[in-house]
């Protein structure tokens, strides 16, 4: 009961602010609503007892990436951007893609209704005490079974970072 209330609260906030994010013309307002969406999604993760994903979402996306977004937007002259025509010519393509995605999600939900332990709308959450510690489980998988992909991904990120530094550096 409480789980459902929390889920629908966060889901509602996420969808509402996602809609507002797309429709606002002021970039800072959009950023604020994107932050709200991300926080609400983090709340859903927490409600599903995925604590590590929850905090990773908050630290990385909200506390890291969005701060830099806002930082950049603040330096742009917004009043100019407000009077320009927005790049929204692909309206119909976007609508088609959205519909296709929605259909996909719908089919997935519909076909999962018969899987035992899964509900039609939301999976039955396992009580907190019954789950293995989330952080430890994730670390165990990452540094054991998936060590190589994990290392490759980190090297890739490092290369990207070094590349960004090299490109941003002044040529002397």
């Amino acid at each position: 009961m409480l789980d459902k209330v929390i889920f629908f609260f966060f889901a509602g906030v996420a969808i509402l602010s996602a809609g507002l994010m797309v429709t606002r013309r002021n970039a800072i307002h959009s950023a604020v609503f994107l932050i709200t969406t991300l926080l609400a999604t983090a709340g859903i993760f927490l409600q599903l007892r995925a604590e590590f994903i929850f905090i990773a979402q908050i630290i990385l996306y909200v506390g890291g990436i969005m701060v830099l977004f806002v930082f950049v937007i603040m330096l742009v002259r917004l009043d100019v951007a407000l009077h320009q025509i927005q790049f929204s010519r692909q309206k119909w393509v976007a609508l088609l893609v959205t519909l296709a995605l929605a259909a996909e999600v719908g089919v997935m939900l519909w076909s999962s209704r018969n899987v035992p332990g899964q509900g039609f709308l939301l999976p039955n959450a396992v009580p907190a005490g019954k789950l293995p510690p989330n952080t430890e489980a994730l670390a165990g998988r990452l540094f054991d079974a998936y060590l190589l992909p994990f290392e490759i991904a980190s090297v890739l990120l490092l290369v990207a970072m070094v590349g960004a530094v090299v490109m941003a550096k002044k040529r002397t």
């Binding site: 009961m1 409480l2 002021n26 800072i28 307002h29 604020v32 932050i35 604590e51 590590f52 929850f54 905090i55 908050i58 630290i59 909200v62 506390g63 969005m66 701060v67 830099l68 806002v70 930082f71 603040m74 330096l75 907190a128 005490g129 510690p133 989330n134 952080t135």
Partner: protein, 453 residues
């Protein structure tokens, strides 16, 4: 019974401790923040051979209340061209982030809102770092140059120093082997030593980085009075300004609590496992009683009758607290209260000591320049923190796999890290010397730090 009412009652029955603790945090933190300000003003006055606030209450003890009332009834000004929605929201974000992150902190083994969160420490630092949105959005929404300069500086500063702080915390977390707040303190009890003695360099980095994160002197560039009026809160007044202020002081409590939990042994008393040190258990009660006795001594010297009475009241409050702390020690059936009450006392004492250290530094050190701040962060603290994490990891492997003595391994870590620090400082000096000899001394801030104000 009505099913809805029944559900509400079940909910309250399950969660009342958490709800009450949450309400207590929200209610008490503003008051505590006010008194931290009073202590800060008195200390600053003392160091500058002044008296500080003396008028409202004996020795200015009621000054925070007067300030709060003043701020509440002040006019709330919103600039004409401000972005109203964001302007309203920003201070609230700042304070909410700080107060929310307190939910996971354990003020003693008995007082914690979010009990079994698996990522406790990450939750505290992650959520408290969201407070930066309040600063950035407030600075932007004010539509003023000083505000946006302060906001930009603040963002750059927080992003840089959060990395160093996070890496320093990782060194401590490696030792603890867990992210749960209680388990971290239990690990220190198990080790029999506070982690500050095993990883002193990590603690030092965390102290420096946490000063920068809370925007306090010598790193208070986002609100440098002599350059930016008041930085991001230039356009704020009245209660909204007070919210920013509260957020800042709540943040100080948060970083103090994190440092205490991870490095200073949390709610453990000094030497928790040494039996002949058990007399330390009496210290909390004796300490509060001594404060009460001093208040009685001062009461007779107050110039006004009302202030004498007030001093008596403070003394009475101290004696009551001392009694509460002492009775469970002496009466056997109440013994189960000891860990909770005394834990809270030691925890708060350690946080106070940490904040006291912040104040010392504020009154002692001059403010850094912006490029100095960035150099310190990126060229010295972050590499040092990375080296420290690696060294602590190696030391733990040496201890666990090769049977080295823990103290020897940790000493090696510290020596290696300090050597690296010396090397980095030399490198930095050389770079600075090369820069100053190659280029003529810049008359104005170079293009490199365009947001330097």
């Amino acid at each position: 019974m009505n099913p809805t009412l029944h559900a509400v009652l079940v909910f309250l029955e399950t969660w009342w401790v958490e709800l009450v603790s949450g309400v207590v945090i929200v209610a008490v933190v503003p008051l505590v923040a006010g008194y931290i300000v009073l202590v800060e003003r008195k200390l600053m006055a003392d160091m500058q051979a002044r008296l500080g606030p003396m008028r409202v209450g004996p020795h200015g003890l009621l000054q925070p209340i007067a300030d709060a009332v003043k701020l509440l009834i002040k006019e709330d000004i919103i600039p004409d061209n401000a972005d109203k929605m964001v302007f309203w929201m920003a201070p609230v974000v700042s304070m909410t982030a700080a107060l929310t992150s307190m939910g996971a902190i354990a003020f003693g083994p008995a007082f914690q809102v979010a009990r079994d969160i698996n990522v406790g420490l990450l939750f505290v630092i992650g959520v408290s770092s969201l407070g930066i949105f309040g600063i950035v959005l407030g600075g932007w929404a004010s539509n003023s140059h000083y505000s946006i300069m302060g906001a930009l500086r603040s963002t750059a500063q927080l992003v840089s120093y959060e990395t160093a702080a996070g890496l320093a915390l990782i060194s401590g977390l490696l030792l603890a082997g867990t992210l749960k707040i209680r388990a971290i303190v239990d690990a220190q009890q198990h080790f029999g030593v506070w982690f500050v003695f095993l990883a002193p360099v990590a603690f030092f980095i965390y102290v420096v980085a946490s000063i920068a994160e809370t925007n306090r002197a010598p790193f208070d560039l986002p609100e440098a009075e002599s350059e930016l009026v008041a930085g991001y809160m230039t356009e704020y007044s009245g209660f909204r300004w007070a919210l920013y202020f509260l957020g800042e002081y709540a943040n100080m409590i948060v970083v103090g609590a994190v440092a205490t939990t991870l490095f200073l042994g949390g709610w453990l008393r000094p030497f928790p496992n040494v039996r002949w040190m058990n007399w330390l258990d009496a210290l909390p009660a004796l300490f509060t009683a001594a404060v009460g006795a001093y208040c009685v001594y001062r009461a007779g010297k107050q110039p006004v009758r009302v202030q004498t009475w007030f001093m008596w009241g403070v003394a009475l409050a101290c004696f009551v607290v001392a009694l509460i702390l002492a009775v469970p020690l002496l009466v056997a059936p109440l013994k189960f209260l000891v860990p909770g009450l005394h834990g809270a006392f030691w925890f708060l004492l350690k946080i106070s000591a940490y904040i006291y250290l912040f104040m010392w530094l504020r009154f002692t050190l001059p403010r850094y320049r912006f490029d100095q701040l960035m150099h310190l962060g990126w060229y010295i603290l972050i590499p040092l923190a990375i080296v420290n994490v690696l060294a602590v990891g190696v030391a733990m492997i040496l201890e666990m796999e090769y049977g080295w003595n823990r103290w020897l391994a940790m000493l090696l870590t510290t020596v290696i890290t300090l050597a690296t620090a010396l090397f980095l400082l030399r490198l930095n000096d050389k770079r600075a010397a090369a820069a100053s000899s190659a280029a003529p001394p810049p008359e104005e801030p170079s293009t490199e730090d365009s947001y330097a104000g």
